[in-house]
């Protein structure tokens, strides 16, 4: 019986082998089996796409500015009383000049129906000393 001591022998390995490239493909197999979070990678195409969106947005904003200004001016309607007050208080234009500018159509628009009684008319005529002068002219 030959004496056998493990420590006296050279190291005995298990003798197993593995298929070539096994450990190269193993991680992929595992990653395909587990619900791991994929890191979000911004590819060059994604970056390009983002810049296209930015450029499109800038063009839209630039086109919108004139339209906005146009509509914002049109929408600002002048208040008639404000205009009248302005002319009354600030204008150098005389009443006669304004009257000269009025045409027939304007006069029709300005026509006001007075429902005056004869007594009222007589009173106006008798109290207004200038009327005679206007009639003569």
């Amino acid at each position: 019986m030959k004496d056998f001591k493990l420590d006296n022998e050279s190291k005995i390995t298990p003798g197993f082998t593995i298929p070539e490239g096994y450990f190269d493909t193993f991680p992929e197999n595992i990653l395909a089996q587990i619900p791991i979070h994929e890191p979000k990678v911004n590819s060059i195409f994604d970056i390009k796409k983002t810049w296209y969106f930015v450029a499109a947005a800038i063009v839209i904003v630039m086109l919108s500015i004139p339209l906005y200004l146009k509509y914002s001016i049109n929408n600002k309607s002048l208040d008639a009383s404000e205009l009248e007050n302005y002319i009354t208080n600030n204008s150098d234009v005389s009443e006669d000049e304004i009257v000269d500018l009025l045409d027939k159509e304007d006069l029709v628009k300005m026509k006001i129906e007075f429902n005056l009684q004869n007594e009222d008319l007589e009173t106006i005529l008798s109290t207004n000393s200038n009327l005679e002068q206007y009639i003569i002219n």
Binding site: K2, T13, T17, L31, Q33, I36
Partner: protein, 180 residues
């Protein structure tokens, strides 16, 4: 230790998880494969068990308390998975785990992924006759050269008991090698 804590945080953080898990695979696939292969002996079975091991590691990583080293925790999962696999296989074949082990060793010579010489095969046969725990201690110490301290963390056995186990295993193996 802090480095390991940081690494575990990377494994749990969805932003860094993918890269961290790839690193974990790269670092541990070989030692865990060896541990599993030494138990189940066959490559295809070892591949199945290794896959299950990493799936479980990923699954239970959030519950890892950090009480032991990541290495020990993963070794424990791999070892348990390997023995569970063997027990289930034995049940399916209607034989005991020991009988299955002996059958696998007998078939090693015909295994495509075993190219051991006569003495390597003889040592495998000698190990197969040992009790399960002694087999495991011997394989981890002799084949993988794992330190008793680390082995103690993996197997939950004191260093003294592991040394005694290894000593008994060596005696029986030497006896087998001389008489067979």
């Amino acid at each position: 230790m802090q480095e390991e804590k940081d690494f575990i945080q990377e494994l749990l953080n969805p932003k860094t998880q993918n890269q961290a898990f790839q690193k974990l695979l790269r670092n541990y696939q070989r030692p865990l494969y060896n541990q599993i292969r030494n138990i189940v002996l066959n490559h295809d079975d070892a591949n199945d068990v290794l896959q299950n091991t990493f799936v479980k590691v990923f699954q239970y990583l959030k519950d890892f308390k950090g009480d032991s080293k990541l290495f020990s925790w993963m070794y424990r999962i791999a070892t348990n998975e390997a023995f569970t696999f063997l027990n289930n296989k034995a049940k399916r074949n209607g034989i005991t785990s020991e009988a299955l082990q002996s059958k696998i060793v007998d078939n090693l010579k015909a295994d495509t992924y075993f190219d051991g010489n006569e003495i390597q095969l003889k040592l495998q046969k000698a190990i197969a006759i040992l009790p399960e725990k002694q087999q495991l201690v011997f394989k981890m110490k002799y084949y993988e050269e794992i330190k008793y301290k680390d082995m103690s963390e993996v197997l939950g056995t004191s260093v003294g008991a592991l040394k005694a186990s290894y000593h008994h295993a060596v005696k029986k193996i030497e006896e087998f090698m001389m008489t067979n």
